[in-house]
Symmetry: C2
Subunit: 489 residues, 2 copies
Amino acid sequence: MRESLMTRISELRDLQGAIGLLNWDQETYLPRRGDEARSAQLATLQSIYHERLSDGWLGEEMEACAANSSDEQAMLRVLAWERNRALRIPARLVKAVSEAQSAGLTAWRTAREQQALKPFSSPLATLVSLRREQADAWGHEGERYDALLEGFEPGMRVARLTPVLERLRAQLVPVVERLTQGSRATSLFENHQFAEQAQFDFTFEILRAMGFDFERGRQDKSVHPFTSGNHPHDIRITTRIFEQLPLSSIFSSIHEGGHGLYEQGFVAAHVRTPLAQAPSMGLHESQSRLWENIVGRSEAFWISFLPRFNRAHGTQFLLPEFLNEVCRVEKSLIRVEADEVTYNLHIVLRYELELALMRGTLEVQDLEEAWNAKTKSLLGQTVTTVGQGVLQDIHWAWGEFGYFPTYALGNLYAASIWKALEREIPHVQNLMSKGDLSPIKQWLNQKIHAQGFRYDAESLVRQVTGQGLTDVDFMAAIHQRYAQRLGSS
Amino acid sequence: MRESLMTRISELRDLQGAIGLLNWDQETYLPRRGDEARSAQLATLQSIYHERLSDGWLGEEMEACAANSSDEQAMLRVLAWERNRALRIPARLVKAVSEAQSAGLTAWRTAREQQALKPFSSPLATLVSLRREQADAWGHEGERYDALLEGFEPGMRVARLTPVLERLRAQLVPVVERLTQGSRATSLFENHQFAEQAQFDFTFEILRAMGFDFERGRQDKSVHPFTSGNHPHDIRITTRIFEQLPLSSIFSSIHEGGHGLYEQGFVAAHVRTPLAQAPSMGLHESQSRLWENIVGRSEAFWISFLPRFNRAHGTQFLLPEFLNEVCRVEKSLIRVEADEVTYNLHIVLRYELELALMRGTLEVQDLEEAWNAKTKSLLGQTVTTVGQGVLQDIHWAWGEFGYFPTYALGNLYAASIWKALEREIPHVQNLMSKGDLSPIKQWLNQKIHAQGFRYDAESLVRQVTGQGLTDVDFMAAIHQRYAQRLGSS
């Protein structure tokens, strides 16, 4: 590859890194009144990024380029993929989407304040219509949603995804029904306070055990936890702390830590190239979910970490009662508060609605009713306020359609990857109960992270696990973890 | 002005803002091993900035542009000034300087570790030679140093500056001699510890009194205090805290707070244009020095703030002994530790050496000897290690020649500006002693900050004070503050 092309490729990554830092800062340390300034800076960097990704010179260089290795070939493939998607959207549409996003976000906030969908209806309808147009511009083979999904989950298609989610739905509804019969309403932590600093310190203890490298990353606090991967040597995660809910900071940190380990795990040869990224949001999510749900909710993990938790907070919780809390299953209205069992039903709900919106079989005016009906049928819950219903997530406010399924994909991939890991590290439960998480991290580093974006997500999963996307491993894990409770009904 | 030109102008400012944030983060929160990544990101943004500043399209737009107001005219003037300087340096030289800076910095660090100039000599010689070349490329009328000075202090010339600094030198040497006779060697704070958090909190108290707006800015800690002006709504200052030296954090915060108020004081009409910047580093420094030395070392200020200091630390210092500490004058080897009286002599020393290096009347091989001789003659001190001598500042490691004089200009401008302020707010000492600093801030906002870069520094000072650069007001202020001690000899 010519040096000038390689330089441009690295510059594009540098720009993404800078954009990442500006975004991170906006959620952590930006002064209250700095928002407008930051939006302008981000818009400028993004437009420069777009300009440099789509300029003619880059196209010519890429055409003339002879790849010297399979990695270079993969780089060019990923770059071409991103570039082609950028080129297919006319500047007019880019601008219209960006304006509709701003308007959508503002209207969504107003609607939440007023507890009514109405102020958001028209901006949302605009976003839906623009995304339909954008999807058609990107191109698809009849299923418009595919073009949106492609942006988050390259290679995934509705035809592949729908049957998997339908099987998941069919199995989960009765499982949830059984697991939530007669569940305790009160929390173990109800009469306790967990000091903020002690909670924060404890999350660092867990992250260190996971192998998160604080010489190449950091953890701060933010309203919504997230991971910012600016460069494998500069990975930032955030957590949030509630003094009455000690599990919130723990599972936020473990979740983001899983994302963070992925980003820290890219290899030197991929740094400052498009290969230093996950092949999909779903695979990225598989790493956070694996750590959060499979490791973090296991008995083995808490055998080691509950004594440390008790020490940190001066409490004396016992393992069974604590695990009960950690693995509590509850029907709820809010996705982000959902447990690992009900979670996927929240995704199925959104996926079915998004699909219908993009196909044109559902219009925005009927969205709230459809949402409430599905909440009833999937989760057995009655929506009483739009804030706990159709307005709960920020994604649609931003016109983000096609993203939700990646959360479910993360859950499914995680289960399959973990099954492969247990095959290759048979004593992993034993190691976990001693607090030794490093073999897990190393295995994931080698099998998943070091691959970067060499392959698409499902291909990589197939390489690692022997099979592609499936609901089987996930459902088996659920049945195993909740065997006792499921068997008893 | 055409919208496309205005957009480009704003984009350039946005890029500077992003660069500012990346630099700020590097000094505050960047993970230890993130340095290389950050350098690459900064280099990319800087090269994009340079490319967009110097491209032909911008030149044509500027030529075709008809300014609609005096502000627009000023914008175009500042932009043209910056652009012309950029265009005169060939890409080859830009690259050579940038590489020499990296090499210089590394060698300077090594030299300091080894306590020997030798490892740094050759990289420094390269930097000197490149800066000579660069100065000639920028252009000058026989005095090469002028072209460097122009980069930090537009409009200032050696012919104007030298006589002022020479008068300053002639007056200060005997003043320092008298003020340092029989000065106490021990510090008032010697047997105390000042808790880090209490110190940090106290700096916020002072900054709030100064009018620093924490909704449009923040304060963090860093090794070397600095101000990062990313946008008038996002101004970040830093301080540093030593538990045995309570004045360090206080005066660092006041100093940077003075810079910060300047940056927060640009007006809405100048935001995202080249007018939202100080016309020179010297004028910027006048604001930090005014707050640090004129306000912060005054009796009136401490009448209000000493009781708060004592409360914060549970101490019982008395005003006279505290003021003695605040206004201690000592001959020292280190510029950054120097007091307000000896400080300018450190600058004169550097200025004379830089001037000789650029004129070619001094070569790097003779620099250490010259440094030591001047330290003797100006400050009466004997240099025993290079770390306390010629290697003490980072500026030359970075090839920064022409910057040092701006510190002295800051001191001189500050004194003249303060004199004008006292004329217009005759009861300012009384206000200060009540802790009311807001009239000072408002006056500076209106007279200096709101002007942005409409005029060059000396013109603006002349507008505000009735006269240009002079040593008279500064020397008068010194004689006034130290009257007792000076009179007694």
